[in-house]
Structure formats: structure tokens, C-alpha cells
């Protein structure tokens, strides 16, 4: 029994430490530009570097393991490099690419690393279908899943990233598309800084501190994302700081401490989104007059909107706490919806007040607000609130068969009754 145990332990130990004979770096060194370097299954320890246009292609079971604190794979000063179907691990960064024109990373598994992919001063980069799983611990001790610094024409799509600091970190990038990614359990799902012409589409951000953190960015389009469960003390579904020109459309924003927050931003359009069960749906401070939330659905939120004195526009949204009527039958409430709340304004100044949000005194205060604020004309007022999420005008229809049947039954009843009293 003891021998069997030792034998099993021997194989278990050896399976973790045996390294394949194939020399990866030598194969890279001898490959001609444009060629494919096929790396057979096996675990290869080292710090590898690519400086020419080649494809590194692994197969199931191909794993590169970085040594010491150096990156597992470096790609430098080259063009048209593809890395695919490989597992990477190491203490620090898995992949570092610098000054590369044309880079494709696909079907990679990156695990137990400080930082997944770090790209700088590169353009025409396509990262897709990679999985990054960070190390255990607090996000302040980790790096980012995919980070791009100073780049142009970048596409990041279909990736799954978890347990890192920022899932996707973008800094000083021109023209980037981030789509169909799933980021969970990090600090920020996607973090844009100093970026222009950006799109984030069909992504899922769940249980990070903040789903989308957008700072000092110009011209960004956020559409069809699911941003949910960001309910920490400092959590936001989306936070826009010093952003110029943004369109936020068709997103599902639910169960966040604050759904969308805008600070020091201008020309933000928030359209046709579903805000569900957020503590506060939209918050705006120091935003420009042209910032507008229109045709959104607000359901189950504790506070619909809060702002500083500048406010922002609310136009034709649906609010589940609106109590007006529609005598004109056009789907629009006859009296304005006023979102101003004294408590909401206090919460902007002192976020710690959020812990009293559903207390009896706050509920009473909000009820009083709703009575008093009916005279509010400008700030956080929607003059055309929708009465239903989807308004459909029902035309009066006549069912002839039903009508004739009803008439027949009525006349029959009358005849039977008359006959009964005359007999």
C-alpha cells in the first residue's frame, strides 16, 4: 500500500515538473518571417521573445511558464505576429507587446499571473477568445487582465477575464472596440483613460467595484452592455469622469449602488436603457446643459436621479413610481415627473448617507418631497413621462359574432322572463 502511495506521489510530482524537449526559443530564432512555429504539447519554462513576423501556434496541452519576474512572452519591434492556442502562466506578466504593428492573440489561457496582456505603442491589435484568471487576493495587489497603452486601431472581443485589478485597461488609445467580453470580480470591468473614438458593445460586467470606468475620454459609444451587481460602498455601474461626448444606449443596468454617474462631463446622451433595482439610477455633478436621459425605463430603483444644482435633462422616460394619469390617452402623463429628492442631494455630498436610504425617516422625507416638489419646474423634471414601457394604442375593435351571440342571449332571456310572468 505504501509503495502504491509513493508511486502515485512520484507521478503526481513528475507530471508538474517534466518539461518537453522541444526548444521553443530556438524554433522561434530559426523560423523565417511569415512562417508558423508549431509548439507541441508540453510545459516549457522560460522567458521567450519574438522580434519577427511569425505565428506561434500551440495545441491542447501547450503551456509556456515564465521564469522569475520577467514576462513569459515578449513581442517587440515587429509586425504581423499571431499567438494562438497556448496556455501561459508566470509570476508577473504573461505577454508584453511593444511597438508592434499587427498583432493577433487568440484562444489563449492565461492563469495565475499578476498581469495578463500588456500592450504598448502598438497598432492594429486584435485580442479575442482569451481567458485570463488572476491570482487570489485583493485587487490592489494585482495587475490588469488586458492593458493597452498608447495604441491605435485595437479590437478586444469575446474574452473572459476574472480576478484581476482592471479587466480591460485602455490608456491613450485612438479607435478601439471592446465587445462581447465578460469581466467579473475585479476593480473596474473596463477602464478607459485619455482615449478617443471608443466603443464598448455587448459586454457583461458583473460583481466588480465598477463596471465601466471612463475618464478623460472623448467620443465613446456604450451599447447593449449588461452592467450588474456593483454594489460596494464605492461601486458604480458606469462612472464617467471628465468625458466629452458619450452615447449610452440599450444597456441593462441593474442592481448597482449607482447605475450611471457623470462627473465634470459634457454632451452625454443616455437613451433607451433599462435601469433596474439600482440604489440610485443616474447621478450627475458638474455636467453640461446638453446632458440628457431620454426614453429609458426606470424600474425598482430607490432613487431615480440626483444631481447638484446644475442638474441634467430627463425626457420621455418611464418611471415605475410615477403616479400621474393620461387623460389625453397619448401614453404621456399629464403632469410632470419630478425626480428631485432632498435626500438624494444630500447623498451626493455625503455618500455615507446611502446607508439610511430605506430608513423610515427617509421614506417619510421622500413622500414629503413628492408633494412639495410638484412645483419644481426645471431641475430633474420630466415634462413628458411615459406611462408604460411600451405604449400601444388599442383601437376599438368590434367582434360581430360575439355581439350577435350576446344580443341573442339577451333577447332570449327577456323572452323567457316575459313568458314566465305571463303564464
Amino acid at each position: 500500500m505504501k509503495k502504491i502511495g509513493f508511486t502515485l506521489l512520484f507521478f503526481l510530482f513528475m507530471s508538474q515538473t517534466v518539461h518537453a524537449d522541444f526548444d521553443v526559443q530556438e524554433a522561434i530564432n530559426v523560423a523565417k518571417p511569415g512562417k508558423v512555429v508549431h509548439i507541441p504539447a508540453g510545459r516549457y519554462q522560460g522567458n521567450f521573445i519574438v522580434t519577427k513576423p511569425i505565428t506561434l501556434q500551440g495545441e491542447e496541452g501547450t503551456e509556456l511558464i515564465g521564469e522569475r519576474d520577467n514576462p513569459t512572452l515578449r513581442i517587440e519591434n515587429t509586425a504581423n505576429v499571431t499567438v494562438e492556442n497556448i496556455t501561459l502562466s508566470g509570476k508577473n506578466k504573461a505577454i508584453v507587446a511593444s511597438t508592434v504593428d499587427g498583432l493577433e492573440l487568440r484562444k489563449l489561457q492565461i492563469k495565475d499571473v499578476h498581469t495578463g496582456v500588456h500592450i504598448q505603442s502598438s497598432k492594429n491589435v486584435h485580442i479575442h477568445d482569451i481567458n485570463v484568471t488572476g491570482i487570489e487576493g485583493h485587487y490592489s495587489q494585482k495587475g490588469n487582465g488586458v492593458a493597452v497603452f498608447k495604441g491605435e486601431d485595437i479590437t478586444i472581443e469575446g474574452n473572459t477575464i476574472e480576478q484581476v485589478q482592471d479587466g480591460i485597461y485602455i490608456e491613450e488609445v485612438k479607435h478601439i472596440v471592446v465587445q462581447r467580453n465578460k469581466v467579473t470580480s475585479g476593480r473596474y470591468g473596463t477602464h478607459f483613460m485619455y482615449t478617443s473614438d471608443a466603443e464598448a458593445l455587448f459586454n457583461t460586467y458583473d460583481q466588480n467595484v465598477t463596471g465601466l470606468m471612463i475618464m478623460m475620454t472623448t467620443n465613446i459609444f456604450l451599447e447593449n452592455n449588461i452592467v450588474a451587481n456593483h454594489f460596494d460602498f464605492n461601486g458604480y455601474g458606469m462612472l464617467l469622469y471628465d468625458v466629452q461626448q458619450a452615447k449610452i444606449k440599450h444597456n441593462t443596468i441593474k442592481n448597482n449602488r449607482t447605475g450611471v454617474a457623470m462627473q465634470k462631463s459634457a454632451n452625454i446622451q443616455i437613451e433607451t436603457n433599462d435601469f433596474q433595482m439600482n440604489q440610485t439610477a443616474i447621478e450627475g455633478t458638474k455636467v453640461s446643459d446638453d446632458t440628457m436621459a431620454s426614453r429609458n425605463n426606470f424600474t425598482g430603483n430607490i432613487l431615480t436621479a440626483r444631481s447638484d444644482k446644475q442638474g441634467f435633462q430627463l425626457v420621455s422616460n418611464y418611471y415605475d413610481d410615477y403616479s400621474g394619469i393620461d387623460l389625453k390617452d397619448n401614453g404621456i402623463g399629464d403632469i410632470p415627473y419630478v425626480a428631485v429628492s432632498s435626500f438624494g442631494q444630500w447623498m451626493v455630498r455625503q455618500p455615507v448617507y446611502q446607508y439610511f436610504v430605506a430608513s423610515p425617516s427617509v421614506i417619510l422625507l421622500t413622500s414629503l418631497d413628492q408633494q412639495i416638489n410638484k412645483i419644481e419646474k426645471n431641475m430633474l423634471v420630466d415634462n413628458t413621462p411615459k406611462l408604460a414601457m411600451k405604449h400601444e394604442n388599442e383601437k376599438n375593435k368590434m367582434n360581430v359574432v360575439q355581439m350577435l351571440l350576446g344580443l341573442f342571449l339577451t333577447l332570449s332571456s327577456l323572452w323567457l322572463w316575459k313568458r314566465g310572468i305571463t303564464e
Partner: protein, 150 residues
């Protein structure tokens, strides 16, 4: 005699009570601390700043640029003390006495490229390893154009 000693001790106590209040820096708590200006959580402690207000409150910042934006908006009257992390030693130093070095390629959380050090010698040493930069004093930060520079 005892009565006089008591009076002297009482006076000393009153005078000590009236002496200038000290404002010590507090530790950064990465789980909950966010920058007062930009809302970023503080994960790069080597660049963090803080202001101890005279009312006992603390305001935390992720970058010297955000700290200066706060001072610009609120003035210095209510500030008891202001601290910034020494980029080389990761220790709190006085914002008003620190020596600053600017280089557009130095990375900081807001990418403003300004780091703080405790002396000119330390700044020179910093530049020998991290690249040449422009030396600045606290007064220069008021007119500094915060943002990324091409």
C-alpha cells in the same frame, strides 16, 4: 506654596491645550479609499496624497494633480496639513515642502507625470534612474497645466 504650584500646573495645562494642533497622516485603506476628485480607488500607494482638514476629516487623493485640483477649488484655509507619498521611499512627506519632478513619460495614476520627493538630492537621484525631468516646487504646481502632454 501648594496652591501656587497647582495654579502654575493648571496654567501649563491650559497653554498646552491651546498649543497648535498636529495633523498626522493616516494609512491608505485600498478597500474603501477613493480619490476625492476623480473617484478612482487608491491602489498605487506610491503616488497617493491626503489632506488633513482642521475639522479632523481627511480627504484622500490618488495623484498630486487631484490634490492640487482640490486646493484650487477649496483654498488652503481649512487645511491642517497636506501629505504626498515620496515616490522613492513610499513615505508621507509635506506637500508644501516636497520637491517635485515632472516628465511627461513618468507614469502616475492620472498620468500627469509629476512625482514628489523629499529633497533636491533625492530628486536628482530619481532622475538618474527614471529619466531627466523638470524640477518644480509647490508654488509651481498652482500654474502647472495638469493633463497628459504630447
Amino acid at each position: 506654596m501648594k496652591k501656587w504650584i497647582m495654579i502654575v500646573m493648571l496654567c501649563c495645562g491650559v497653554l498646552m491645550g491651546c498649543s497648535e494642533k498636529t495633523y498626522e497622516p493616516r494609512d491608505i485603506i485600498s478597500e474603501t479609499d477613493v480619490c476625492k476628485i476623480c473617484n478612482m480607488s487608491i491602489v498605487h500607494n506610491a503616488y497617493a496624497g491626503q489632506i488633513a482638514l482642521k475639522n479632523g476629516d481627511y480627504e484622500i487623493f490618488d495623484d498630486i494633480g487631484c490634490l492640487m485640483e482640490y486646493i484650487k477649488a477649496n483654498g488652503e484655509d481649512e487645511i491642517g496639513a497636506a501629505y504626498i507619498k515620496d515616490a522613492a521611499k513610499n513615505e508621507w512627506i509635506d506637500v508644501f515642502k516636497a520637491v517635485y519632478v515632472y516628465n511627461k513619460d513618468y507614469w502616475t495614476p492620472m498620468n500627469y507625470g509629476v512625482v514628489a520627493l523629499d529633497s533636491k538630492e533625492a530628486a536628482q537621484e530619481w532622475m538618474t534612474t527614471e529619466g531627466e525631468g523638470q524640477l518644480l516646487a509647490y508654488k509651481d504646481l498652482h500654474d502647472f497645466k495638469w493633463g497628459i502632454h504630447k
